[in-house]
């Protein structure tokens, strides 16, 4: 008894919500590695209390690895902002139903997200190490050692490897 084919093909759908759905899944998968990796590096392998201008400038301008970290941060910041603000849009649209309010809402969200994208990309791409600032800071902190020896010894004993590690690589 021949009936019909086992499956039918219809045109795969397009449209904004479907694209947004795809984007959330794919960016989410990337962010699992990028964001969790970032957290592990900054909070477990290093320590947030050892992160300062010296750390970030070395990280981004290191001749061997600087480009890798900039590429990582760039991908992460762009995906995270779009993923986060699209999520916010979906939540708010669920509770704000009027068509006009939704237009206002979407416009506001994308303007804000766009501004943050600009800030994030600009900071990562255009960063140049401020050597003068670092020199002044080192001078100032060597003075500080004599003034507040107890505080600084406490800080350096907590993160003994934070600064010397970079000297090894350089």
């Amino acid at each position: 008894m021949a009936v019909t084919a086992r499956s039918r093909r219809v045109k795969p759908a397009g449209g904004f919500e479907l694209a947004a759905w795809y984007f959330m899944r794919i960016s989410g998968l990337f962010l699992v590695f990028l964001a969790l990796g970032h957290l592990c590096i900054m909070h477990l392998i290093h320590n947030v209390e050892s992160i300062n201008y010296n750390f970030v400038s070395d990280r981004w301008t290191n001749p061997q690895t600087g480009y890798i970290w900039r590429l990582w941060d760039l991908t992460m910041v762009n995906l995270a902002i779009l993923h986060g603000f699209n999520g916010l849009r979906q939540i708010l649209e669920e509770w704000i139903n009027r068509a006009k309010s939704r237009v206002v809402l979407r416009t506001g969200i994308w303007i804000f997200a766009g501004a943050l994208l600009l800030l994030g990309n600009y900071a990562i791409l255009m960063f140049v190490k401020d050597a003068d600032y670092l020199k002044n800071r080192r001078d100032a902190s060597s003075d500080a050692v004599t003034v507040r020896a107890d505080v600084d010894r406490g800080a350096s004993s907590r993160h003994p490897a934070a600064v010397p590690a970079f000297d090894v690589l350089k």
């Binding site: 939540i91 509770w95 960063f127 670092l134």
Partner: protein
């Protein structure tokens, strides 16, 4: 005839009173952690932007996150930020693991969807599997006296620090 339509607040409150199961709790947590991470992301982009705009302000902000104001340490502030750090870590871990659960439902409408309760417990288990050592490492940095167990974590970490930054 006048019907009763719920307002926004009433709908939110009544929704929370609904006796939903594991699915509703993970949906709610996914939203709350998502919004929390987004709030942090906005702050974090602003503070990181300072590296290019004003290195001194960047160092001041980073010091503040470490519980220091003008180089003076405030232990309560420091503890508050470390607990916040743990909250952030927990939010990202839950959002990531639960996000994978949601993706599984899309990839496998029959098997994964049929096993949704088991998958929920898998998310809970994986969350604690990751968060227990994370909590230990973050809190360890606050405790002055190193313990033998802590040393086992700290020694290889110092080695890895040389290569990953």
């Amino acid at each position: 005839m006048s019907v009763y339509r719920r307002g926004l607040v009433s709908r939110l409150v009544e929704g929370l009173r609904y006796g939903g199961g594991a699915g509703q709790w993970s949906w709610l947590l996914h939203r709350i952690t998502g919004l929390g991470i987004l709030l942090y992301l906005v702050v974090h982009i602003w503070d990181t932007f300072l590296v290019i705009f004003s290195p001194a302000s960047y160092d001041a902000i980073m010091g503040f996150y470490g519980g220091k104001i003008h180089g003076v340490e405030y232990p309560l502030l420091r503890w508050a930020f470390r607990l916040g750090e743990l909250g952030l870590f927990a939010s990202v871990v839950f959002h990531a693991v639960n996000g994978l659960r949601v993706i599984l439902f899309d990839l496998s409408p029959i098997r994964a969807v049929g096993a949704q309760k088991e998958l929920f417990w898998a998310v809970v288990a994986l969350f604690f599997f990751i968060m227990i050592p994370v909590t230990f490492i973050v809190i360890h940095a606050l405790v002055a006296e190193p313990t033998p167990v802590a040393a086992a974590i700290v020694f290889p970490r110092n080695f890895v620090q040389a290569f990953v930054h």
